[in-house]
Amino acid sequence: MAGTRELRRRIRSIRSTAQITKAMQMVAASKMRKAQEAAIAVRPFIRMIYRIQRRAVTRVVDFTHPLLEVRPVKKRLVILIASDKGLCGALNSNLFRLVGRYDHRSTLFITAGRKAAQFVSRTRRQLVADFPYGDTPRFVEARAIAVMARDLFLKGEVDEVVLVATRFVNTLTQQAMALEYLPIGEIKGIRMPDADPEEVLAADSTEFRFEPSAEHILSYLFGHYLNVLLYTVLLNAKASEQSARMVSMKSATDNANGMIKDLTLHYNKLRQGAITQELLEIAGGQAN
């Protein structure tokens, strides 16, 4: 009977594991929904900033700005955005693989999320700063990171800034990506996702007055654009993390349930075998 007792214990332990993973799956699902909602809430803002920026751009002829300056890359800054907690499938390891292609010595790191900071210090890369971000990322959190990156770039300590984060495609698919953040490059090159199509903007020829000047507003917008871009990347990272966690916890729960089924079958067979054996023994004893 020792075999059946052992089995019973295993079944019980797997069942409680399944309960935990199921709970984590539900939590991740609700957090994912929130992160996705926030990602949608930012769209009107992006659309508007894009439109204003277009209006200003058409009015400015020769515009140069320190944030647009392309320099030969001697030092690079990578902003690595990963999750705080694990149990979210291959999400973080995909990011870390992407980071592997940057040279150790000439690359500085700003990280967001505990796993990112751990990775950078474990692999002895140069960590400049680590920022926290919550389950529903706030705009101020994004701004703090953006401001720091911008300062390093403007002071000439780095010549290029790259964002490494996860892009949210859908619940099942998330993609690790490296996004060029600074320098901004050509003015016309500013792309905003979800913006009005070009034709609509081109057709609108309202003459605006600019106060104090178009250049002024444009350079203000660049700063703003960088904050917003970082904010959307944070939201993407969060939505990805939660959906990756939800999916991996779902498969963990499914696996646990499969194991419980197999083990229960095995257990029942053993038990039935033992009963049959006993019956045979009793019958045998009577016959004698």
Binding site: A38, A41, V42, P44, F45, M48, I49, R51, I52, R55, A56, R138, F139, R143, A144, V147, D151, T206, E207, F208, R209, F210, E211, P212, A214, H216, I217, Y220, L221, H224, N227, V228, Y231
Partner: protein
């Protein structure tokens, strides 16, 4: 389209804070307070942390705003800002605390960039306080 109202939209990265037809709006523009009535000339300008006064059907309401940009057309005012809070939603005690924290931080030895960012958050707190306290008077 009516000539006596304009559509006021206030958008932050986190939400659309305000979207209604109003009669007049006053903004803290970078070169001073400006009042905007319907049929205003098209204008693009920056705003600084301060107070927005909205007049709608003879009724005044107040919002605290952070920095941002405003796009004015004859029948529309679009404000893009990092913060916008209606007066009734401002938690005075909390903001006062934030203001004191920022003020205390300025006393410490900190770098120029930090001073700038603390000053910015101080300005945001002060804008909120100004709006809130004025409503009590």
């Amino acid at each position: 389209m009516s000539a006596t109202t304009l559509k006021l939209e206030i958008v932050t990265p986190e939400a659309i804070v305000y979207s209604e037809d109003v009669n007049m709006v006053t903004l803290p523009a970078i070169e001073g307070q400006i009042g905007i009535y319907p049929m205003h000339i098209p204008l693009l300008t920056q705003i600084v942390p301060g107070e927005i006064v909205v007049i709608k059907d003879g009724h005044e309401s107040f919002l605290a705003v952070g920095e941002g940009v405003v796009e004015v057309t004859s029948n529309r005012v679009a404000i893009v800002t990092d913060m916008a809070i209606p007066a009734e939603n401002i938690d005075e005690a909390k903001v006062e605390e934030a203001r004191q924290r920022a003020a205390a931080r300025l006393q410490d030895k900190i770098s120029d960039e930090e001073v700038a960012s603390v000053n910015a958050s101080l300005a945001r707190s002060l804008a909120q306080l100004k709006v809130k306290r004025r409503r009590h008077v």
